[in-house]
């Protein structure tokens, strides 16, 4: 047992431990043992979506290193886990559960794993990599759905049709989708990519990927993308699945995180060209890569830039350098990272998922227990089930999570003006007191206290109002309880 457990995690750990001891078959025991381990492990985040949505690129951007291989064609063929570790290691997990360490090379930057057997004999790959960004976050890359390479599609569809009571493999999901029309029958397809566990409004974030390509890579592409993402966010169908949609240009973000001095120099050299020569060079990708281009860079160097930044990235960078918005590699890197939307995504991950991860993992663990119980893999099923129910209903964090889910899916409705506040108070946009109250992080304790008293008062009135429906009253009671909790944490801080 870990000494740092909070009461909830401790309760869940004990419960899962009990279930593991009563397990009837080795499969169930392993599953439950794994669930115990996961309680203290890093948050597992899957990157899901349609093929060629830019999943591997985004993964690389999040890690800040080029790890996952990316290519113009379909490229990721196996589910790959990227785990923080001390040593660099690649383990291939066979379909039958055998684990085998495999050699790999990293010549072109990305990992090239020598599998030594056909792809379809493996279940997934586990890559350990020493990176601070993987410390409390395990990233899972997936091949994606709607692929034309039949075996990839088939594999995904068999997984999709798999039984529903399998334990969730991941804690949270990033759904990547590209710009598509709202009446497209495949509009929500990205969200059906539940190979590794279904996203809920609590653990899913929608990502509008490849936004730099919207509108033919014109320089206003990102502005248009922000508008598109905003519209998607307001689409009720998406809102129910993922209340947040962010445009993230993975390639730009990756370049922003890892921009090198010589790359900046090369871009500056293009920016320094006479205007018409520069325009001509950046007119098309072919011109940028042409052998006889009128610039002091070898075609290889230019191809490298195109690879790293894409045509849009090169155009944007050159423009930024040319009109002196940025004056150094560092400034350019910052600007690219910010423009790409990657910073914002990181913020959301830190705020919403890492903070909530304890809760999400406890939930995952309980879900695993339930799955095992339903399958009949445990003795004393009734008692354990009752205990799960007890933990689920008494821990106020879970109550909050449930209310939040109900609110977001529309299972419970409150007056429209209250909806947003309820979401916030329940921790919908972050768990810190200030975020819950909708105040800036640097607010003083008296300010916070004033706001929390006001909220408490408001929700007590909602709860006792005869106009409030029964469901809404129960929900309001939960919110009141949350407000009381906030006040309770603030009062000792004042004295």
């Amino acid at each position: 047992m870990s000494p740092h457990d909070d009461p909830l995690t401790a309760a869940v750990r004990e419960l899962v431990g009990v279930a593991r001891d009563r397990a009837l078959d080795p499969v169930s025991r392993d599953q439950l043992a794994e669930a115990v381990d996961r309680l203290s492990g890093p948050l597992r985040l899957a990157i899901a979506g349609r093929v060629k949505a830019g999943k591997s690129t985004l993964l690389n951007a999040l890690v800040g290193e080029e790890l996952a291989p990316t290519d113009a064609g379909e490229c990721t063929k196996l589910v790959t886990w990227y785990i923080g570790g001390h040593a660099v290691r690649v383990i291939a997990v066979h379909k039958d559960g055998r684990r085998e360490q495999r050699p790999f090379s990293r010549e072109g930057g990305a990992l090239d794993v020598d599998l030594g057997a056909p792809v379809d004999t493996f279940d997934h790959l586990e890559v350990s990599w020493p990176s601070s960004r993987l410390q409390d976050l395990t990233l899972v890359d997936t091949p994606g759905i709607a692929s034309l390479s039949t075996e990839v599609s088939e594999r995904t569809s068999t997984l999709l049709s798999a039984e529903d009571d399998r334990p969730p493999v991941v804690d949270a999901v990033l759904y990547l989708f590209r710009h598509s029309h709202a009446s497209d029958v495949r509009f929500l397809e990205a969200f059906h990519d539940d190979e590794l566990g279904r996203g809920t409004p609590l653990n899913a974030v929608g990502v509008l990927s490849r936004p730099d390509e919207i509108g033919s890579c014109r320089l206003d592409a990102l502005t248009v993308a922000a508008r598109v993402a905003d519209r998607y966010e307001r689409d009720p169908r998406i809102h129910r699945l993922s209340p947040l949609v962010l445009p993230v240009a993975g390639l730009l973000g990756q370049a922003g995180t890892t921009l090198r001095e010589e790359e900046y120099r090369a871009l500056a050299m293009i920016a320094a060209l006479p205007e018409d020569v520069c325009n001509e060079l950046l007119l098309t990708a072919d011109r940028l890569l042409a052998d006889d281009a009128d610039v002091m860079l070898t075609p290889l160097e230019r191809a490298h830039l195109a690879d790293r930044l894409g045509l849009f990235g090169v155009r944007l960078s050159v423009m930024l350098i040319r009109n002196r918005t940025v004056r150094s590699a560092t400034e350019l890197a910052q600007r690219l990272a910010a423009d790409s939307g990657l910073e914002e995504l990181r913020g959301v991950l830190a705020r919403q998922f890492l903070e909530r991860s304890r809760l999400l993992r406890a939930r995952s663990a309980l879900a695993t227990v339930r799955a095992v119980l339903r399958r009949g893999g445990c003795a004393d099923a009734d008692r354990i089930d009752a205990r799960v129910e007890e933990v689920m209903s008494t821990a106020h964090e879970f109550v909050e999570v449930r209310l939040l889910t109900d609110l977001r899916t529309g299972a419970v409705t409150v007056a429209e003006r209250l909806e947003e506040e309820m979401d916030r108070l329940l921790g919908g946009s972050g768990h810190s007191v200030a975020r819950r109250l909708g105040l800036p992080e640097e607010s003083s304790v008296p300010q916070l206290l004033d706001a929390s008293y006001a909220a408490l008062d408001r929700w007590r009135r909602v709860e006792s109002s005869p106009m409030t429906s029964r469901d809404a009253r129960i929900a309001a009671r939960g919110v009141v309880r949350t407000c009381e909790g906030i006040v309770a944490t603030l009062v000792p801080a004042r004295v």
Partner: protein, 642 residues
């Protein structure tokens, strides 16, 4: 996310501002092959000859053939997934900016671009509100300003206007379009698998060519390949265009991958990479035009669409010419026969009299072939109705099952999209059945018609056909000396055109009401609100109520859909019946006139003195030669197509 600065004037990317009027002197696809001009000339000669022979009825027959040739519309549909650059491709082909393009907003209705002496645009609208959408009301055409098209056809258009708008037809003075080509920019909404995609797929039956658009950002996906396969079943002249090659350094790999995917899927069609961006700038520097890759696309248009269509059109014109020739020949040949063998004149006159009797019956109302046609259409109406009802019943069953699986409050948007798609698919399949059966019926009627006129034709023409064989003549025509086969060929050719008339003019290029169905919301009154109204009640009861509401809405929608589709089918079947009847009636009239005249001249010839006979025979030989010469100069060229 920070907002990137607006593009500077110096930035390389902003789209060029193309001219509306095409600049002269650019390389453009060739004009129609000289072949067609020769066919037109032959038709004119035929008309003259018919008038010399005092047969204005035959002349007008050829006039109509000529008109069909002039008015032939070669529809080429531009199809593909959302945001692949379809409208931009149309603009780039014509180097104009008629089709509005935007980074985010999509084209909402089909835009048809055709030839016109002056740039103009017409919007086809549903009649204004108040007409309660009953399908009796006619489509209203309203001229619109070409420069305002962007506001009209995109999704950004005013809502009430958008509900009424069905399609837009733009006319431009452009050489490419002068050949009869019309480009159809299909709506990008919904994607290939949605209701709109299915409507588009159905419309491909009436097009001469298909340009499938995908882009270089990504290799072909499964839905795209599936769509292509289905599209090619309906319109074999297809090409896959990979756009945006200017943006992606690795476009060559994508093109290669696309070719492989198509090969693996067993689809044989050319893949052409293009850059609309470069082509749109090309009016400033011709070198860019070369780089844009459009030359290959125009080559394809010329060889696979224009030339093919021209050959087919020429072959059809030849069949009309052949018919006229046959009619003219009959009169001369009958007289020649009598003159050559006076002792058999009684026999010939007898045969001709019987023939005349037959053709008279053909013309009469309520005769065999007419009965056949009317019965056939009735049968067809019953079958199509039955088929539609069956399909709709399946949809009802399915949708109710779907509703029962979930809570309509949550699943309604999905159900709506799904239902529209199912309905459009059902309608489309029903429509295809109708088309197939109507074409079959046309062929059957042609056969019945030929059968009725068969015997006298054979009797009367045995000798002349032998004479024909003596002349050095096109053996392909002689291989089918019996007119039954010939009439059948004739009508088989016409029957191939029947679906086009079913779908009507370019205005209703897309089965209009289907598009409407795809766009009209399934109005579920209250589904959104009930949740709030009945909040105090039992949840289960609410759910049941919501499901009932949803089912009712679906049924109402299906009723409406059924009504519209059925009306559409019946209308087109009635039109088919009318057209077929008029066509055969006219033909019967012409044939009757011919046999009457043949009879008269045979009788006259029988009463001539021997000297007169000799003189007359010489005259007739000249006439005969003249008739046989008709259209011979062009026939060899188009035989392959016939």
């Amino acid at each position: 996310m920070q907002r990137p600065a607006r593009p500077q004037p110096s930035s390389p990317a902003p789209a060029p501002t193309p001219t509306r009027r095409p600049a002269p002197g650019r390389p453009e696809p060739a004009k129609p092959p000289a072949d067609l001009a020769r066919v037109v000339r032959a038709l004119d000669e035929g008309k003259q000859l018919a008038e010399q022979h005092d047969r204005p009825d035959l002349g007008s027959h050829l006039d109509q053939a000529r008109k069909r040739l002039d008015q032939q519309v070669l529809g080429v549909a531009i199809v593909g997934e959302f945001k692949r650059g379809k409208s931009t491709l149309v603009n780039a082909m014509l180097q104009t900016d008629v089709c509005p393009t935007d980074a985010d907003i999509v084209t909402a209705v089909p835009t048809i671009v055709r030839y016109g002496a002056e740039p103009s645009a017409v919007a086809q609208l549903e009649p204004a509100a108040g007409a309660d959408g009953s399908p009796d009301s006619q489509i209203v055409e309203e001229p619109v300003d070409v420069d305002r098209l962007a506001e009209l056809v995109s999704e950004a258009a005013d809502a009430s206007w958008r509900r009424r708008l069905r399609s837009v037809e733009v006319r431009l003075p452009h050489r490419l379009l002068k050949t009869g080509l019309s480009l159809v920019d299909t709506p990008g909404v919904g994607g290939l698998e949605s209701a709109h995609g299915i409507v588009t797929l159905g419309a491909l039956r009436t097009t001469t060519g298909v340009i499938f658009v995908t882009d270089a950002s990504q290799e072909l996906t499964k839905p795209e390949v599936d769509f292509l396969r289905q599209a090619m079943e309906r319109c074999p002249a297809a090409v896959c265009v990979v756009t945006k090659t200017d943006l992606y350094p690795s476009w060559r790999r994508i093109v290669e991958l696309d070719r492989q995917h198509l090969k693996t899927a067993g689809i044989d069609l050319p893949v052409i990479p293009v850059s609309s961006f470069l082509r749109l700038r090309a009016w400033r520097s011709p070198k860019l035009n070369e780089e844009s890759g459009f030359a290959a696309l125009f080559d394809w248009l010329r060889t696979s669409v224009l030339e093919n269509a021209t050959e087919l059109a020429a072959a059809a014109a030849h069949r009309d010419l052949g018919f006229v020739q046959e009619q003219l020949r009959l009169e001369v040949a009958a007289e020649q026969q009598v003159l050559a063998k006076p002792e058999a004149s009684a026999e010939v006159v007898g045969a001709l009299r019987r023939r005349s009797e037959r053709t008279r019956k053909l013309v009469e109302r309520g005769n065999g072939w007419q009965q056949f046609l009317f019965d056939g259409i009735d049968q067809l109406i019953a079958d199509v109705k039955h088929d539609l009802a069956g399909r709709m019943r399946t949809v009802v069953r399915d949708v109710e099952a779907v509703i029962d699986q979930g809570d309509p409050k949550e699943t309604w948007p999905d159900i709506e999209v799904w239902l529209q798609r199912q309905v459009v698919r059902a309608a489309n399949e029903n429509h295809e059945l109708l088309n197939e059966r109507a074409a079959q019926l046309a062929t059957d009627v042609a056969e019945a018609f030929a059968l009725e006129s068969e015997e006298p034709l054979e009797l009367g023409l045995t000798a002349p056909v032998d004479v024909l064989r003596g002349l050095s003549f096109d053996p392909a025509q002689l291989a089918a000396p019996d007119s039954q086969k010939m009439v059948r060929m004739l009508f088989a050719g016409r029957a191939a055109l029947i679906p086009v008339t079913l779908a009507g003019s370019a205005a209703s290029f897309f089965a209009g009401s289907l598009l409407l169905l795809a766009a009209a919301p399934v109005v579920a009154i209250g589904v959104g609100f009930i949740g709030r109204k009945l909040i105090r009640d039992e949840r289960q009861r609410q759910l049941t109520y919501r499901r009932q509401q949803a089912k009712m809405s679906c049924r109402r929608y299906l009723d409406e859909a059924n009504f519209v589709i059925e009306k559409d089918c019946l209308d087109s079947l009635r039109r088919t019946r009318r057209e077929l009847r008029d066509e055969f009636q006219a033909r019967a009239g012409v044939m009757h006139a011919s046999s009457q005249r043949a009879l008269t001249s045979a009788e006259r010839a029988a009463s001539l003195t021997p000297q007169e006979r000799e003189q007359r025979a010489a005259e007739l030989a000249d006439k005969r030669a003249e008739i046989e010469r008709l259209g011979r100069s062009t026939r060899t060229a188009s035989r392959g197509a016939a």
